[in-house]
Amino acid sequence: MHFVWTSTVVTLLAFVILYWLLSRYAIGPLMSVMEKRRELVLSQLNEASTTREEAAAYVEQQKEALQQARKEAYDIIEQSRQTSGKQADQLIAQAKEESVRLKDEALRDIESEKNKAMAALRGEVGRVSVQIASKLIEKEIDEKSNEGLVDQYLKDVGTKS
């Protein structure tokens, strides 16, 4: 076992120089690259998590939109059902009104026809009764007296009116 003191100095120098060379040219750059990779992986992980969150939010949004669309469709159907029912009711009411109106009209027509007929009948009855009366009177009195009677009658009518 030789202990040569210059070996100590040379070892010290060699080790220090090697340490400096390694840290300057090899390990330093390599560690910065490793650090960069770590950051890259970290950022990619973050990105992935945000993307996942976004996707989840999007799905939620889509679900909501779907729900809303379904609700809207239901509303539309309900509304149309309601409007159609209303329309039917309206139609029925209209028809009822129309029939009532027609009935009233018919009744009024009947009434006026009846009145007309009565008026006509009254006139006819007057004429017929006059004829009957004249026929009866014809047998009793002649034309002359008849004429005198009519004149008197007409006179009476003329003075009285």
Binding site: H2, S7, T8, V10, L18, Y19, L22, A26, L30
Partner: protein
């Protein structure tokens, strides 16, 4: 036993094998790291980049296990440098060895300088009257199989740890020496130096023992035909085990360094 190729330049000793192997280890580590981070990509990392990231993440997990990762982040580079440097150093000595054999004092030179331990060994052998004196010098070995290297690494951690303790955690750092009672001060001081010593010696002992056994197996192989055949499975087993030990020791050295750091920068808020 292999000698170390130590030469004296202007009276200062240099262990050429350690210097060479340290440079080789540093080059290998830096080349691996540089190749791995050549075409850096955030989204599509290559195989080597993945490997390097795996190393960093491994160290990061170990640090997170010993201390708060916010405080421990600056030590990741240190941990990666330690584990890679020690692992590569441990592996370097395994695949082959370069051994020079010298049998005369005149030839035991490198670049015109005497290899001191070889000269000493040869001289003592000649003085003992050996007919064929010879010494072997190992050039290629694990730098971590040398005590001065491992103790230096441990000392770097030791100095750094205590500096961090004093600078960032002053009050509880000094209080820690008097706990649980002021009587324990010597024991606490010894503990610090013991941990320094075991930190360096553990690595040295494991790797050095591994290389010694390899050279023993190589001697067995050189002994004869039977030894040569017997040495092959032994070598395979021991090489495999040495790879395992080298990896474990690199890991242990790194994790211990992190544990020491966490002990000293821990503010003991929970007490």
């Amino acid at each position: 036993m292999h000698e170390a190729p130590i030469i004296h330049l202007g009276g200062i000793p240099f262990d050429l094998s350690i210097i060479t192997m340290l440079i080789v280890s540093c080059l290998v580590v830096f080349l691996i790291a540089k190749l791995a981070t050549r075409n850096l990509s955030v989204e599509n990392p290559g195989k080597l980049q993945n490997f390097m990231e795996w190393v960093i993440e491994f160290v990061q997990n170990q640090i997170a296990g010993t201390m708060d990762l916010k405080k421990g982040r600056p030590f990741i580079t240190l941990g990666v440098t330690l584990i890679m440097f020690i692992f590569v150093s441990n592996m370097l000595g395994l695949p082959f060895g370069i051994v020079f054999e010298y049998d005369s004092v005149e030839k035991a030179t490198i670049f015109g300088h005497q290899i001191v331990p070889v000269v000493d060994t040869l001289n003592s052998a000649i003085a003992a009257g050996e007919a064929h004196p010879h010494a072997e010098v190992a050039f290629w070995k694990s730098p971590t199989a040398d005590v001065s290297v491992t103790m230096t690494l441990a000392a770097i951690i030791f100095v750094m740890v205590h500096y961090l303790g004093m600078a960032k955690n002053t009050k509880s750092y000094f209080k820690h020496y008097l706990e649980p009672y002021p009587v324990f001060l010597p024991i606490n001081l010894i503990e610090q130096f013991a941990s320094l010593l075991t930190h360096g010696m553990r690595l040295y002992g494991n790797i050095f023992a591994g290389e010694v056994l390899i050279s023993v197996i190589l001697k067995l192989a050189a002994a004869g035909a039977v030894g040569w055949i017997a040495s092959i499975p032994l070598m395979m087993v021991w090489q495999g085990f040495s790879i395992f030990v080298g990896a474990i020791q690199a890991f242990v050295f790194m994790i211990l360094a992190m544990v020491y750091i966490s002990q000293k920068i821990d503010t003991h808020e929970e007490h």
